[in-house]
């Protein structure tokens, strides 16, 4: 996938979300679902390029990979699946297309350096 354009959207989203007067950004945390089409490693690489020459330059991208989870109607429970090629409840085997997680491309949080000035 074209992770550079996603990285640009990400840096744009961070800039928009930053509180006024915020200190330097140390880390940007994203949640990327296994079904989203975005590849974590490619996004990390693209992030460096997208952040260059911006206030985000030097910040680290921390990616949390979100697994696929479905709702099983038979068990009436959310189940986390080990992969992406079989959409069946791991407990009872019932197939399910009711996807509850794994599609995210989400800017979760930013970690800012909090600078306190000396009195003198």
């Amino acid at each position: 996938m074209h992770e550079l354009s996603v990285a640009h959207a990400l840096t744009g989203a961070v800039e928009e979300a930053l509180p006024a007067g915020a200190g330097p950004v140390r880390e940007v945390h994203v949640r990327v679902g296994v079904l989203s089409g975005v590849v974590a490693q490619a996004l990390e690489f693209a992030y460096e390029i997208a952040a260059a020459d911006t206030r985000l330059e030097g910040s680290d991208l921390v990616v949390e990979v979100v697994p696929l989870s479905i709702h099983c109607a038979t068990c009436d429970a959310i189940r986390v699946l080990p992969g992406t090629t079989s959409f069946r409840c791991p407990s009872c085997g019932t197939p399910s297309g009711d996807i509850r997680g794994g599609r995210e491309v989400e800017l979760a949080r930013v970690v800012l350096e909090d600078l306190t000035e000396a009195a003198s």
Binding site: V110, E113, D114, A118
Partner: protein, 259 residues
Amino acid sequence: MTTQAIGDRVVEIRRGVLQKNDDLASALRERFARAGVRVSNWVSSPGTGKTALLEVLLRTAADRGLHPAALVGDCATDNDARRLAAAGVPVRQIVTEGLCHLEADLVAAHLDGLDLRELDLLVIENVGNLVCPTAYDLGESVRVALLSVTEGEDKPVKYPQLFSSADAIVVTKTDLAGPAGFDRDAALASIRQVAPAAPVLETSARTGEGVAALLDLLLGTPQGTAIHPPAAGAVAASVASRGAPGAPADGPSPREGRP
């Protein structure tokens, strides 16, 4: 400036990275719903036969007295729009100049001159690509993933991101199944692995097989034949629980197309 003490401040955001597209798509979805037009987004590899099938579908719809229209996306040329215009219905070409997928802003920009209230059906033929269109909601009512009998029966499990996001799956070029040695059972099993609940249709643009059933599905009417039932016990996504791709779980309003 002298730094006395350094601590870390964490600012929770929880915002979709593709929020811009998701918001535009939600707005389109509302606009389509108000106008009473059913919209579908067709996604497949290049060469699956989307355009040929769409040609026949548009003519079939017009013959039924319906008012269909099409938006077709390609990296270059307006060849597809010219072909589809022969069906005598409104068609708009979106030339992406290399962008590998359609996005909501491109769709919105190409609706000029179309009176949506006059339309029953709008088909958006995406750029031929089984990867990139996955995350881009176009405001459609129904997302259709297509694969042809010549592409390999395991195509769906090779592209689970896209096929699991589809509301309906179409197997095209059935007239070539024999010469291609197509294993129908294997293809259905592979589809069911990643899309347990989506209806599956088989079509041939050449013979017309399955076109009427596809049209019924796109219009939301329950008639039609040759629709494979969902895998036993499978439950489709409840409309209320599903957000657009790329959004947090409680994101914008989802597509229809699931019971």
